[in-house]
């Protein structure tokens, strides 16, 4: 871990020129494969099976970018990155895009030489505790030990929350989520904290998942967004509009199954999305049917969510804030026109 970080830094230092000015899209096309930074293993978001096949919510967005470029969602190489190493990997050009449940914050956006956005998942930080403790609220955690993963916004929110509520606690910090969960499971900590979506996923790793409950408080805003380097606006646009296309597709009722049929639709919004009218792909260096490729191979936002996190997955996470704005959520994508 340390070595790869060092190597990445040396790369930034000495050969970083490859980073910004050269067009990322051309490099990706020439290479024939997209390099996508992903979580090394988080159920629902990014998991590699025993054949090395990656699946998950974030993985689906990587595949969507690849589908838009190559019309082939398999042309992605996934590079698993720890929370600690992920930004260096983007800065150094080791990955073209990082889609790894990464919270969009101002400092990350403005001081790391990175661009983030748009949000593909609205999350918040929560706590899991043993149900035998009989806790009703995170504010009852006075004096508790809390296991947390290092190098995350989680670590800071945790300090903020306890400070704001004037509660004493003891943080126990681990480099990887796996170690943090293991330590919580063995009783080293009274609580484990991370983003609520991940809490449900990590709960499955515990020896007796049913003996643990997720506390109701959400103590922070955690909008997850894809990350790219500064300096290549077209590439940033491409990633942004890939996410926007999946959201717009759900709103317009375009699905994996009916996308070919929808090509004949009379609805001007659908026609623009699918490239029947206008040529919106040109602006991001892609052919007019870029969104059709995304939807055909990966599906719309709702389908991606349902398959990886929602009812069709073991996690069964409620869509909550991630419902479309028309359904009581806050998911809202700018129009294609």
């Amino acid at each position: 871990m340390k070595k790869s970080l060092l190597a990445a830094i040396v790369t930034v230092a000495a050969f970083g020129a490859a980073g910004a000015s050269a067009a990322t899209l051309d490099q990706v096309k020439q290479r024939g494969v997209l390099h996508c930074g992903s979580n090394p293993g988080l159920a629902g978001f990014a998991v590699a099976d025993d054949k090395g096949q990656w699946t998950g919510f974030d993985v689906a967005f990587c595949r969507a970018v690849a589908a838009a470029i190559f019309d082939d969602p398999a042309k992605v190489r996934f590079i698993p990155l720890t929370a600690k190493d992920r930004f260096t990997a983007v800065q150094s050009g080791e990955v073209d895009v990082l889609i790894r449940n990464t919270t969009w914050t101002m400092s990350r956006d403005t001081s790391l030489g990175l661009n983030l956005g748009p949000v593909n998942y609205y999350d918040g930080q929560g706590f899991i505790v043993r149900s035998s403790l009989g806790l009703k609220s995170a504010k009852e955690l006075e004096g508790a030990s809390v296991c947390v993963q290092q190098g995350t916004t989680t670590e800071l929110n945790l300090a903020d929350f306890f400070r704001a509520n004037n509660i004493k606690y003891e943080p126990v910090t681990y480099a990887s989520a796996v170690e943090a969960v293991k330590a919580y499971d063995s009783g080293r900590c009274d609580a484990f904290t991370t983003d609520a979506s991940a809490l449900y996923a990590e709960r499955l790793r515990l020896t007796a998942p049913d003996e643990h409950v997720v506390l109701p408080e959400i103590i922070s805003k955690e909008p997850f967004a894809p990350v790219v380097r500064h300096g290549d606006d077209q590439w940033f646009d491409l990633v942004q509009w890939t996410v926007n296309a999946t959201i717009n597709a759900e709103e317009l009722g375009v699905t994996k199954a009916n996308v070919d049929e929808q090509l004949k639709s009379e609805n001007p919004e659908v026609r623009r999305l699918l490239g029947v009218e206008g040529n919106f792909g040109e602006g991001i260096g892609l052919p007019a049917d870029w969104a059709v490729r995304i939807i055909r191979h990966v599906g719309n936002y709702g389908e991606i969510f349902a398959a990886n996190l929602g009812p069709d997955s073991p996690l069964k996470i409620d869509r909550g804030l991630n419902r479309l704005w028309t359904n009581g959520g806050i998911l809202y994508a700018p129009p294609i026109r």
Binding site: K2, L5, L6, A8, I9, V12, A13, A14, G16, A17, G19, A20, S21, A83, K84, F87, T88, Q91, S107, R108, T110, S111, L112, G113, L133, L141, E142, G143, A144, S145, C147, Q150, G151, T152, E155, L156, L158, A159, D160, F162, R163, Y169, E170, P171, V172, T173, Y174, A175, E179, A180, K182, A183, S186, G187, R188, D190, R229, H230, G231
Partner: protein, 402 residues
Amino acid sequence: MARTPPVQSPPPDRGDATGSWLYNPAVRGAAYQVALAAAVVLILYEASTNAIENMRRLGIVSGFGFWNAPAGFDINQRLISYSSTYSTYGEAFWVGLLNTLLVASAGIVLATVIGFVVGIARLSRNRIVSFLAACYVEFFRNIPLLLQLYVWYNAVLRALPAPRQSLSTADAVFLNNRGLFVPAPVFGEGSGLLLVAAVLACAAIAVFGRWARRDQDRTGRQHATGLVSLALFAGFMALGWFAAGRPVTFNVPDLRGFNIVGGLQIYPEFVALLLGLSIYTASFIAEIVRAGMLSVSRGQTEAAYSLGLRPGITQRLVIIPQAMRVIVPPLTSQLLNLTKNSSLAVAIGYPDLVQVFMGTVLNQTGQAIECVVITMLVYLLLSLLTSLAMNIYNRRVAIVER
């Protein structure tokens, strides 16, 4: 670069001065060195200017301004006052550095002690003892340290009860999976007197020790220096204690809510790291000690025996002092290794320098180059200081050499 000398050039020693300096080996050697140094400087200059330029263009913030910015995260194990409320990244650095120093120095002492004991045990005439020592060395030397740390950490944690089921002695010492809790001394008014008493006791012990040695040299009588020193120390401390009016009180740990509150807490992460590092490094030190002892010729032992010295005294006064000059240089490398290996703390949640500074601070500030450079310089400095100390010690033991 090096051109073959032209055939027609005159030999340099024939009085014709032109070009003679070109063939002077000293001048050539110097020229090569200058060229090499220039190349190294040029590469470093290119790399650093390129890095600065790239970072500027990408909009990555650089510099050491973050040092005084508020840190905003908490660290559980610390030797100095630190809190997310008021502390800076700079203070987080010191917390991490002190934690590294603590585990490294405790590890160095423990590893050296275990290493010497096992190394000497391996040479024991008692078959079982030497077999057990050999097993120890072969087992711990051949398993990766990281794996051992995981085993220690998880073994330590799983074996211990939850806080509410703590093992406790006299309701003052508690042991559970959050650590070992012992009463913490609170130094009240007049504690300075205790320090004075300790200094006086040490002085008295030194004086007595010198007198005892001289007396033994003169008369051959032996004195129970250990016992007397202990008595002197206890006496002086007791005197200071009552003279100052019992200045030290104890903060006794107590179970409140989730955890034990108060007292002095020794964390399981620290214990696991200390045990892992010491036991692993000790297996190498044991072999070094064994090699050192075997390097002392058999004749030395025989000569000591023929003077009537018992085996224990022979080891202590004849063999080990001579073995030290062989032991110390490789021992230094092992101690350096131990210090550097302490950075594996990151895996088991002990907040050492790498975990705090190259982990959380680097990630929150995003200033990778600065953080990595500072961390590397710290380890370099620590290693150089350790080697300096060991070299000084080595020079002292090497004087024995004839």
